[in-house]
Symmetry: C2
Subunit: 205 residues, 2 copies
Amino acid sequence: MADVKHFDPDATLDTVMRLFWRQGVATTGVQDVVDATGLSRSSLYATFGGKQELYRAALEHYVRERSRPLLGRLEEDDRGLPAVGEFFAALIERRCTGEFARWGCMVSNAHAGGENGSPAVRAVLDRQHRYLRAALHTALVSAQRQGQLAEGADPDSAADVLALLAHGVNLRSRAGADARELRATVTAAIAAFAAPAAPAARSGP
Amino acid sequence: MADVKHFDPDATLDTVMRLFWRQGVATTGVQDVVDATGLSRSSLYATFGGKQELYRAALEHYVRERSRPLLGRLEEDDRGLPAVGEFFAALIERRCTGEFARWGCMVSNAHAGGENGSPAVRAVLDRQHRYLRAALHTALVSAQRQGQLAEGADPDSAADVLALLAHGVNLRSRAGADARELRATVTAAIAAFAAPAAPAARSGP
DNA sequence: GCCATCTTGGAACGTTCGTTCCAAGATAAT
DNA sequence: ATTATCTTGGAACGAACGTTCCAAGATGGC
């Protein structure tokens, strides 16, 4: 009794996400979206509403498809500090190599844009930051339970620090920071919260 | 033999800086600049060139007037970790209260913009990051010299970590992060590199 | 096959964009 | 006072902006 969409909205959202992610929303025109998706303005506006709503949808698509999976892996990895280290290693890998190298993180980028004033967008940023912190916290509690944390370190503070550090990694990677350098930095940060190295074969008899 | 400018370019640059700092360059029109400065387009273009060059000039004005003084203070404070703590305290104060609350840092913001591709802008970002890292490094070397650093900590890695952390503070403050929370976080980060607390009056006889 | 309903292409809307241009105004040296 | 030179206000430019609109096309239930 009616026509059906001639395209896949989710695939479109993925294309749009890349546009906004790389260039930012303010420097991306609706014409760019039309060109990249092959859709007409009619279809875009009928499906997603205006540009701002399209941006929000793309941002949430990013969170769903790019951020959450990585954080989910961290959350379910109960090895403690090795899990945290692996999370950051994967993050840096994504930020510095492959298709999305030097794009930064779409959520971190959104913090700096002139459009973070939109309450809807702001809510996404806060929610995602809380989730990032929570995932790190979970891993750090695991670490503490396994005696991997230094005596003075507590998982709450450490989670806060590492969450801010992740934003720093995201920002600097967009400016072309060296992957090796970033890896060394996060390794040092994690080590700062770790218990002194196990006295394995250090002090002989 | 000629007319002279009827305005102070440096004061104008300060006004323009605030505009770009708060709203970002892409969401700020030349008309906004005209309205805020009271100048005509002729004067603006004759003095600064186009919008992109005006942005770059405003960004360098920011670095000169806002970033460098704070980092200079840190560089010349040889107390070690207390100097680092005071630097971050002052940073957070500026980011969360007063005229510029929730504006973030213009340099950090520039990382995320779609216009960081300009080599000139990119150069400013790299230079400023290096300077931030160097100032922290200087303070941390002082700290180490005074025995304030933990055994495993080295000033180079710690400077890298804290420099990225500063970007994180800048980003999150723009999204409205709580000052008290940020203070606690940076305090924990610094503490992670510090030597164990002096056994002052802890374990009584 | 037909109709009701939704989608699509593409033209068109008024606004704002960054930039250019020129006549009028201001200045300092002569 | 005159002149040469620079600055200024403000109009004007074409291009691009986000959005709206409608006729034509496509679809599924009858």
